[in-house]
């Protein structure tokens, strides 16, 4: 069944509308990937869902309208957003970053969660007391994801996790995402430039162009789609 339903969504910055009349259904337990060129509105879509920009239209999360809620309320309803550029608390230690992720949780089972996510990101365990700003890009991305997972979200929004990462690190990151999904059946909405990697872990895909949905299909079909291959996968 559908966990997130978007109907007639418009969103943008001030007077500039970036997204036009978006309809989207995110099925519970699936990974959806959003593809599109720079400026197509991918980041704006995630920000509209989490409420970090102005938006109008209907957004239903688990049957409840969240399109008028402030960020905090959206987050509290179970949506974690890892923003583009990761948004690490660079002044805080790695451990404190992870604890920040659990801010809305009441605490008793926080420790076991922390242990659980650290098994997915062993590099972070080695660096718990280190200042987060001194981590490498890949480690900061892992930290941002771990922080988001601490919220126990039902929907994880990931904005360009591959940004600025070396190919080998990237491979590992997507393997970890696949492993997390395998174990938790968590629903994810991932915006990604690296279509190859993203489609390999995704169930469904959406292609945005100039703020509108131009294509939606299963990840397998999109991987085989000539146009997608030409534009986003870089071969004919």
């Amino acid at each position: 069944m559908s966990l997130l339903t978007i109907k007639g969504l418009h969103a943008g910055y001030g007077s500039r509308t970036v997204l036009h009349d978006i309809d989207l259904d995110i099925v519970e337990g699936q990974i959806h990937v959003v593809l599109g060129a720079n400026g197509a509105g991918k980041t704006t879509l995630l920000r509209a869902v989490s409420g970090t920009i102005e938006r109008s239209g209907t957004i239903l999360f688990d049957g409840l309208r969240i399109d008028h809620l402030p960020v905090r309320k959206v987050v509290a309803s179970g949506i974690a957003h890892v923003p583009q550029g990761r948004g690490t608390f660079s002044d805080l230690s790695v451990d404190e970053n992870i604890r920040m992720g659990a801010y809305l949780r009441s605490g008793s089972d926080m420790r076991s969660d922390r242990e659980r996510w650290l098994t997915f990101f062993p590099r972070l365990r080695e660096r718990l007391s280190q200042q987060a700003g001194s981590l490498s890009g890949g480690e900061q991305q892992m930290l941002a994801i771990a922080r988001a997972l601490m919220l126990r979200p039902r929907l994880l929004l990931l904005d360009e996790p591959s940004l600025g990462l070396a190919p080998i690190i990237l491979r590992g990151l997507f393997d970890t995402l696949a492993a997390i999904r395998q174990e938790t059946a968590m629903t994810m909405l991932i915006v990604e430039q690296n279509a190859n990697l993203a489609l390999a872990v995704a169930d469904q895909g959406v292609v945005l162009e100039s703020g509108s949905v131009v294509l939606r299909d299963s990840a397998a079909n999109l991987t085989g789609n000539d146009e997608v291959r030409r534009i986003y996968l870089g071969y004919e």
């Binding site: 987050v75 509290a76 948004g87 608390f89 660079s90 700003g133 890009g137």
Partner: protein, 293 residues
């Protein structure tokens, strides 16, 4: 030798007062990136509030506690009414408003309580502790102890509590703090409240030493600026170490450099500010921002 030891202890007591005001400056600066020029005048009003409550018949200690609590609320109110609405304005606008507030509060004190000097009693008994031939006033030791206690409390707040962590997160990266569900404006409001409470403490501690009057914080705020600059402005540890250093240096220079004496002592603070900015602009403990992409 005795004189030197006494000057250092006295310097530490003065330094503890500068440290608490420097901490107030560091708190508002860390949470919102704004240097509160009116911090000293707010502290002066806090000291007047104690005097007024005592004039109405309240004993000193409860009056001091009430003043600190009221100051916390005033700091929070200042954040809501002036700082938050100006959060997207240019630095120059904010500086102008805060300097305006400085003048307004100063005049308000003169209007309410006149410019004549009044005496605020010390929190500590007029006695001396003797250790052999070495003697130190209870007030000196008391000031150091009170500020040390406050530092321990702040340490526990920021290093061990969830609220403290959320406050640090909100000050460091507000956008991300929102995304994990932290009510950022509330955290900044508490930060400004704590700053005003710390300022109140410095005002209440210093008033018995300099007498209560509307310009009593003029010297103290300059020393606190020197302390915060020396310590690195956004560093809590830096504000404390800077405060103590400035207090000791001020006392030693005033005593041992004859041509400076008590009148030119304030220049020491300005030289410290100038020297720090010239040689080590981030101060002793200011964190040079580490950022990797």
């Amino acid at each position: 030798m005795m004189l030197l030891a006494n000057q250092i202890i006295d310097g530490l007591a003065d330094g503890a007062i500068y440290a608490s005001l420097a901490l107030a400056l560091a708190f508002s600066y860390r949470s919102t990136g704004i240097v509160n020029f009116a911090q000293g005048e707010m502290a002066m009003l806090s000291a007047y509030l104690v005097w007024q409550l005592m004039a109405w018949g309240m004993p000193l200690i409860p009056a001091a506690i009430i003043s600190i609590v009221v100051s916390f609320a005033a700091g929070a109110l200042l954040y809501v009414s002036l700082v938050k609405p100006l959060s997207h304005s240019s630095v120059l606008t904010v500086v102008s408003v805060l300097i305006g507030l400085y003048l307004a509060l100063n005049s308000l004190a003169g209007f309410l309580w006149t410019y004549s000097i009044r005496a605020l009693p010390s929190l500590f008994p007029k006695a001396h502790l003797k250790l052999g031939s070495f003697s130190v006033s209870v007030e000196t030791v008391g000031i150091i102890a009170v500020v040390a206690l406050v530092l321990v409390l702040l340490y526990f707040l920021f290093e061990t509590t969830k609220l403290g962590l959320a406050m640090r997160g909100a000050a460091s990266t507000p956008d991300s703090a929102e995304l994990v569900g932290v009510p950022v404006p509330t955290m900044l409001l508490i930060g400004w409240g704590i700053a005003a409470a710390l300022g109140a403490l410095s005002g209440i501690l210093v008033a018995p030493r300099v007498f209560l009057n509307p310009t009593m914080m003029f010297g103290v705020i300059i020393y606190a600026f020197a302390a915060a600059t020396l310590g690195g402005f956004d560093s809590i540890v830096g504000a404390v170490v800077g405060g103590l250093l400035v207090g000791v240096i001020e006392n030693l220079v005033g005593t041992y450099v004859p041509w400076i004496g008590p009148d030119l002592k304030i220049v020491v603070a300005l030289v410290l500010i100038f020297g720090t900015l010239l040689i080590k602009p981030d101060g002793l403990f200011g964190r040079r921002k580490v950022a990797r992409l």
